[in-house]
């Protein structure tokens, strides 16, 4: 009985207390179309998913940033220069 109660302690002392790496899996059952493809890609290859992320993030940022540029230029804001010499 005592041995059973002390088992977790022995396991921890032997280095068995470290957390096992958690594997996350996307649940694709409720998904369709692009979202399903997206989640499947995540499940199949984190590497490909990472490559796509590194491409899509800057691309999306630039696209919407350029849209904001066009709107601000349309309003008449000077987006090319600033007349400020200040610390």
């Amino acid at each position: 009985m005592i041995t059973v109660l002390l088992c977790p302690g022995f396991a921890l002392a032997a280095g068995g207390g470290g957390a096992a790496p958690i594997v996350l899996v996307a649940d694709t059952r409720k998904l369709t179309g692009v979202m399903a493809w997206w989640a499947n890609l995540y499940n199949e290859s984190h590497f490909q998913f990472m490559i796509l992320t590194v491409i899509l993030i800057p691309l999306t940022g630039v696209i919407f940033g350029v849209i904001a540029d066009i709107i601000m230029s349309g309003i008449g804001i000077d987006l090319k220069s600033r007349d400020l010499a200040e610390h």
């Binding site: 996307a26 999306t60 940022g61 630039v62 940033g65 904001a68 540029d69 008449g76 610390h87």
Partner: protein
């Protein structure tokens, strides 16, 4: 109202997508204006929207990379980015960050480190806030003294001038940083970036909150160049962070993309607002943001001593951060609109 919610394919939760866009706009404006990623603002926001914490950091870093890239481009067009300084500092930041992260792991092995780190964070933020407001008070005193002499202070005069003492250290190689208007030893930005990177590594943050004032007070950058150059660093480190977190499967890219729609536009607004708000206006607003950040962390730190008020303190911390994001982004937006109106009126008068 089901259409207002989108199912996150990886995290498997339904999220109110207009909330993500609004949060993105708010942190985008503040990030583009102050030159920081703003993880301390995004995490409680994502939490409120029902986001699992396992994905919050990765998602935050992914959107941060995109918005910082677009604000760097905008600041670059205004001449606010010193790319040479940014690249020199990148080396020190990476090495310093790794040294800080290794130190945390060593501290973890010898005992509890979390509380110590948080108290260091509070002390650091208090020091930064003191530095900013001490600088503002000193500059005002100089203004009064100049006025008494019947003179007017130029825009290039500053309150705190620690950088002038540091520029006297002439250890070769010397570098000329054109946009920042600085001639100094290359070791100065390397040492400063190593130090700020080391602190960021210990605290587990991106580092914009520390690097921006360090660029101003230790290297001597004008405020606008400090903002632009810091964003350049955040963009590069953010992209690396996005890659490494996604590789570990901790990024909800759909949420990051939705946030980015608002953040990319907000970042442009924030970057353009630096045209209309003067250097010391940015410093004062930054000081207030630092105080808000420090108070929100303090509310979390005192919880072990006040267990009965844990929920109240958690709510107060979240309300404070989100209130600060809303107030600051609205203030920056309003000041930008006022500046645009004046610019257009001046343009019409010339025509």
């Amino acid at each position: 109202m089901d259409w207002l919610y989108v199912l996150m394919p990886i995290a498997g939760v339904k999220i109110f997508w207009p909330g993500l866009i609004i949060l993105g706009v708010g942190v985008g404006i503040i990030g583009g204006f102050f030159g920081m990623g703003g993880a301390w603002m995004v995490t409680p926001g994502l939490n409120i929207l029902g986001f699992p914490m396992a994905f919050a950091i990765g998602t935050d870093i992914a959107h941060m990379a995109g918005k910082s890239l677009i604000s760097t481009m905008r600041h670059g067009k205004f001449g606010n980015v010193d790319y040479k300084l940014g690249l020199i500092m990148l080396v020190g930041t990476v090495v310093g960050f790794e040294a800080g992260a290794q130190m945390v792991m060593w501290l973890e092995r010898i005992g509890s480190v979390e509380k110590v780190v948080r108290w260091i964070y509070i002390a650091l933020l208090a020091f930064i806030a003191w530095m900013v407001f001490h600088d503002v008070a000193k500059r005002k005193a100089k203004e009064r003294a100049a006025l008494a002499r019947g003179e007017k202070l130029t825009g290039l005069e500053t309150g705190v001038e620690w950088h002038k003492a540091l520029h006297k250290i002439k250890i070769p190689p010397m570098v000329h940083l054109k946009e920042a208007g600085i001639y100094c030893s290359a070791w100065l930005p390397i040492f400063v970036s190593f130090f700020t990177g080391w602190l960021a590594g210990i605290l587990g943050i991106g580092g914009g909150l520390i690097r921006m004032p360090a660029l101003i007070y230790m290297i001597g950058c004008p405020t606008h160049v400090a903002v632009g150059t810091d964003l350049f660093e955040v963009a590069i480190s953010g992209l690396y962070g996005a890659a490494t977190y996604t590789w570990k499967g901790r990024t909800e890219l759909v949420a990051a993309m939705i946030m980015l729609v608002g953040a990319a536009m907000g970042a442009q607004v924030g970057a353009v607002a630096t045209k209309y708000i003067k250097g010391y206006g940015i410093r004062i607003a930054f000081g207030l943001a630092v105080i808000g950040c420090a108070v929100s962390i303090l509310l979390k730190l005192v919880q072990p001593w006040l267990p009965a008020y844990k929920d109240v303190l958690n709510t107060a911390s979240t309300v404070l951060v989100l209130g600060l994001v809303s107030c600051m982004s609205i203030y920056i937006f309003v000041r930008m609109v006022q500046g645009v109106k004046m610019e257009l009126a001046a343009k019409n008068r010339r025509v």
